[in-house]
C-alpha cells in the first residue's frame, strides 16, 4: 500500500512534468494580450507537483498499520480484475471489425460463460437480446449511429 502511494505520487509528478514541458512551449508570462496561453497550465503543473510531493511526504510520516503493509491489490482479486479488463482490451482492439453490437455480444457471452458460469441457454438469450435491444434503441429510434464494425455492415447493408 505504501509503495503504491509512492508510485502514484511519482506518476503524478512525471505526468505533470510532461505537461509542464508542453506549457513551456507557450508563453507563460504577461503578453500584450494579458497572461499568455501557457500561464494557467504552467502554474497548475507546478501546483500538482507540489501537492504530489506533499502527499508522498505525508504517506511516509503516516504510522505503520496492517493495512499499510498489505498488498495494494489482494492476491485473490487479480484474476477477477483481469477477467473484466483483458477482454475489454481485446474487444476494443478489434472494434473496427466487430463494432459495438457484435463486440458487446461477444463480451457478454464470454463473461457470462467464464466468470458467471451461467447455463448456455441463458448466455445465448442474453447476449443476443441485449445487443438487439440496443440496436433498435440507438440505430432505429434515436438515430445515433454507433460503430457497426465491418462484419455487421457487410451483412446489413452489403458494404
Amino acid at each position: 500500500m505504501r509503495r503504491a502511494e509512492t508510485l502514484m505520487a511519482l506518476a503524478l509528478v512525471v505526468g505533470a512534468g510532461v505537461l509542464l514541458r508542453e506549457a513551456l512551449r507557450l508563453s507563460v508570462r504577461w503578453t500584450s494580450a494579458g497572461p499568455g496561453a501557457g500561464f494557467f497550465p504552467f502554474w497548475l503543473t507546478l501546483g500538482v507537483v507540489a501537492c504530489a510531493v506533499l502527499v508522498w511526504l505525508q504517506s511516509l510520516r503516516a504510522p505503520a498499520t496492517p493495512e499499510g503493509a498489505a498488498p495494494f491489490i489482494p492476491a485473490g482479486a487479480w484474476k477477477s480484475l483481469l477477467a473484466v479488463f483483458l477482454p475489454m482490451v481485446a474487444i476494443l482492439a478489434a472494434i473496427s471489425y466487430l463494432g459495438i453490437y457484435l463486440g458487446g455480444a461477444v463480451y457478454l457471452a464470454g463473461y457470462m460463460w467464464l466468470v458467471g458460469r451461467h447455463r448456455w441457454q441463458l448466455i445465448v438469450a442474453v447476449s443476443a437480446l441485449v445487443p438487439l435491444t440496443l440496436f433498435f434503441i440507438f440505430e432505429r429510434w434515436f438515430l445515433l449511429p454507433l460503430p457497426m464494425g465491418v462484419i455487421l455492415e457487410y451483412f446489413l447493408y452489403g458494404r
Binding site: 494557467f40 500538482v48 482479486a77 475489454m88 459495438i100 445515433l144 460503430p147
Partner: protein, 508 residues
C-alpha cells in the same frame, strides 16, 4: 410584485412539465433512475452520463427533465439497497445503512423504507420551494457579476471540496488542479491557439469530460466491485398500507430533525462542488448529536434513517441551484448535466432565466411533479425494484461495461474515446483505492475553461495587479470565505492536536 412573478413563472413551468411528452419523460426517467440507484456499481453520476447521448435528439427542456428525473430516481433508489441489502446503492445512501439495515433486520423493513422515502420526499419538496424562490434573485444578482466575481465563486467551489469534502485535503487540492489542468488541453480559449495537445490533432478538441466521467465513475466502480467480490443477500420486503400509516404517525415527533436536515442539506447542496453525499453524513452526525438517545443510533433508530435521507434529497435539489443560476454545478452529477447544456446548444449562466424561460421553469416545474410521482412509485413498487438486485453480477458487470462504452463513444463519435475511457477507468480504480477523491477532478474539468477565462480576464482588468480581487466587495467576500474553507482542515487538525487524542471523533 416580484413574488407574483415567481408564481406566474412557476405555473408556466408546471404547464411545460405537465405536457404528455414531458410527463412520459419524467416517469421513464424516474424508473431508470431508481433502477440505477438500486444497483450498486452503477451510480447516479454515471447513470446520467450514460443517458446523456440519448438526450441529443430531444428538446433541451425534455432533455434536462429526463436527466433530472433520473437523478431524483437514483436518490430514492439508493435507499432500497442500503436498507434491504446493507450495501449502499449510491454513495449518498451510505449513512442510511447505519440504521436502515438494523431496522430491516429487526423485522421492520417496511418502517425503514417508508421513513426513507417519506423523508426524502419532504426534504425534496421543501428544497424545491426554497429553490423556486431563491433562483430568480440569485440569477438577477449573478447577472451583475464580472470576471473577478466569477473567479471568486469558482474559487469558493474548489475550496468547498478541500474544506468539507473529507479525506485528505492535499489529495483533494491535487485532484482539483489535475482536473483544471486536463481542461487546458486543446485550444486556448482566449487567444485561440492550439496548446497542450502534443501536436496531436485528435487532442485538439480537448479532453472529453463525459468520457472521463464515465471511465472514472463507471468502469472504476466496476473494477472496485469486482475486486471486492459482490455478494448481495437481501431481506425481502413488501410495503403494506399499514406499514406506511404506522410510520407516518411517527413523523411529527421528528419535525425538528427534518427541518434541520432539510436546511443543512439544501445549503450543502447549493455550495458548489459538494452534493448529496457529504450532506447525508453531516445530517446523520448532527441528528446524533442533538438526540436525547445518541446511543440508539446504529441500532435501528428511525431518526437515523430520516436525517440522512432528508438531507440527501434536499442537497440533490440544492445542487441544481448554482447550475441553473450561475452555470456552476453543485455536485458531480450536476456537472454531467451541465456538460449537456453545451451539447444542447445552451449557454449556462444567469441569462438562461431571460432567454430560456421554458427550459428553466420547465425544469423547476418538473421537480415538483417528479418528486410527487417518485415517492408514490417507490412506495408501491419496492419489491419490483429490490428484485433488480437479483440480476447476477456475471451479467450486470459486462452490461454496465457495454453501456459505458456506448455512452463514451456517442458523445463525440470517436473510437479513441473508448481507450480514454478505459484508461480513466484504471486511473479511477487506482485513485479511489489510494483515497484520491474523484468528484473534484470531474467538477474542475467541467469548470476549467470558465475558471481560466475568469482569472485571465480579471488579471487583464487589473492590468496584472492582484489588487482587483481585494477591492471589489463581493469578490473579496467570496475569496475570504474560500480561503477560510481551504484552511479549515488545518484548523481542525490543530484543534484536535490541542485536545487529548480521541479517535474517530468526527467520523459518524
Amino acid at each position: 410584485m416580484p413574488l407574483l412573478g415567481v408564481f406566474n413563472d412557476l405555473l408556466f413551468g408546471l404547464g411545460v412539465a405537465l405536457t404528455p411528452v414531458n410527463m412520459t419523460i419524467v416517469i421513464v426517467g424516474l424508473i431508470l433512475g431508481t433502477a440505477i440507484g438500486v444497483l450498486p456499481g452503477l451510480g447516479g453520476t454515471n447513470g446520467v452520463a450514460l443517458l446523456l447521448p440519448l438526450t441529443f435528439t430531444l428538446q433541451p427542456t425534455s432533455a434536462i427533465i429526463l436527466l433530472a428525473s433520473v437523478y431524483w430516481g437514483a436518490i430514492f433508489g439508493g435507499a432500497i439497497t442500503s436498507i434491504l441489502f446493507n450495501i449502499p446503492g449510491e454513495p449518498w445512501s451510505v449513512a442510511t445503512t447505519f440504521d436502515g439495515h438494523p431496522l430491516a433486520k429487526q423485522g421492520k423493513p417496511g418502517v425503514a423504507l417508508t421513513a426513507a422515502f417519506t423523508s426524502s420526499f419532504i426534504g425534496a419538496l421543501v428544497a424545491i420551494i426554497l429553490f423556486t424562490f431563491f433562483a430568480p434573485p440569485l440569477a438577477e444578482l449573478a447577472l451583475r457579476f464580472g470576471p473577478p466575481e466569477n473567479f471568486a465563486v469558482l474559487f469558493l467551489a474548489f475550496a468547498t471540496f478541500a474544506g468539507l469534502g473529507g479525506g485528505s485535503p492535499t489529495k483533494t487540492i491535487l485532484m482539483t488542479l489535475l482536473g483544471l489542468l486536463l481542461s487546458t488541453v486543446g485550444f486556448d480559449i482566449i487567444t485561440g491557439q492550439p496548446r497542450m495537445n502534443f501536436g496531436l490533432v485528435s487532442l485538439q478538441s480537448g479532453v472529453n469530460f463525459i468520457v472521463i466521467a464515465i471511465g472514472l465513475f463507471g468502469l472504476g466502480e466496476i473494477f472496485l466491485t469486482v475486486e471486492e467480490g459482490l455478494r448481495l443477500e437481501g431481506i425481502r420486503a413488501r410495503l403494506g398500507f399499514r406499514d406506511v400509516w404506522e410510520t407516518w404517525k411517527l413523523f411529527p415527533r421528528y419535525t425538528a430533525t427534518i427541518i434541520r436536515s432539510t436546511i443543512l442539506g439544501f445549503w450543502v447542496g447549493v455550495l458548489p462542488g459538494t452534493g448529496a453525499t457529504p450532506a447525508s453524513f453531516m445530517s446523520y452526525g448532527l441528528a446524533k448529536q442533538f438526540s436525547k438517545h445518541p446511543e440508539r443510533f446504529g441500532q435501528g433508530e428511525v431518526e437515523g434513517v430520516i436525517a440522512p435521507e432528508t438531507a440527501a434529497h434536499a442537497a440533490g435539489i440544492g445542487a441544481l441551484l448554482p447550475m441553473v443560476t450561475l452555470g456552476i454545478p453543485g455536485s458531480p452529477t450536476a456537472a454531467v448535466m451541465l456538460a449537456g447544456f453545451f451539447i444542447w446548444g445552451l449557454n449556462p449562466g444567469p441569462l438562461l432565466f431571460q432567454t430560456q424561460r421554458d427550459f428553466v421553469w420547465g425544469l423547476i416545474g418538473s421537480m415538483y411533479i417528479a418528486n410527487v410521482i417518485g415517492v408514490i412509485m417507490v412506495l408501491t413498487l419496492v419489491p419490483v425494484f429490490a428484485a433488480i438486485n437479483r440480476i447476477p453480477f456475471g451479467i450486470l458487470a459486462p452490461l454496465i461495461v457495454i453501456m459505458s462504452s456506448i455512452g463514451a463513444y456517442a458523445t463525440n463519435n470517436q473510437i479513441l474515446d473508448l481507450w480514454f475511457m478505459l484508461g480513466s477507468g484504471v486511473a479511477g480504480y487506482l485513485f479511489k483505492k489510494l483515497g484520491y477523491p474523484l468528484a473534484p477532478l470531474v467538477v474542475a474539468l467541467v469548470l476549467g475553461d470558465m475558471t481560466e477565462q475568469a482569472l485571465r480576464q480579471s488579471l487583464i482588468m487589473g492590468q496584472g495587479s492582484l489588487a482587483i480581487f481585494v477591492t471589489r466587495p463581493i469578490t473579496a467576500g467570496f475569496l475570504a470565505a474560500g480561503l477560510f474553507l481551504f484552511l479549515l482542515p488545518a484548523l481542525r487538525a490543530l484543534r484536535r492536536r490541542g485536545r487529548a487524542p480521541r479517535p474517530a471523533e468526527s467520523e459518524a
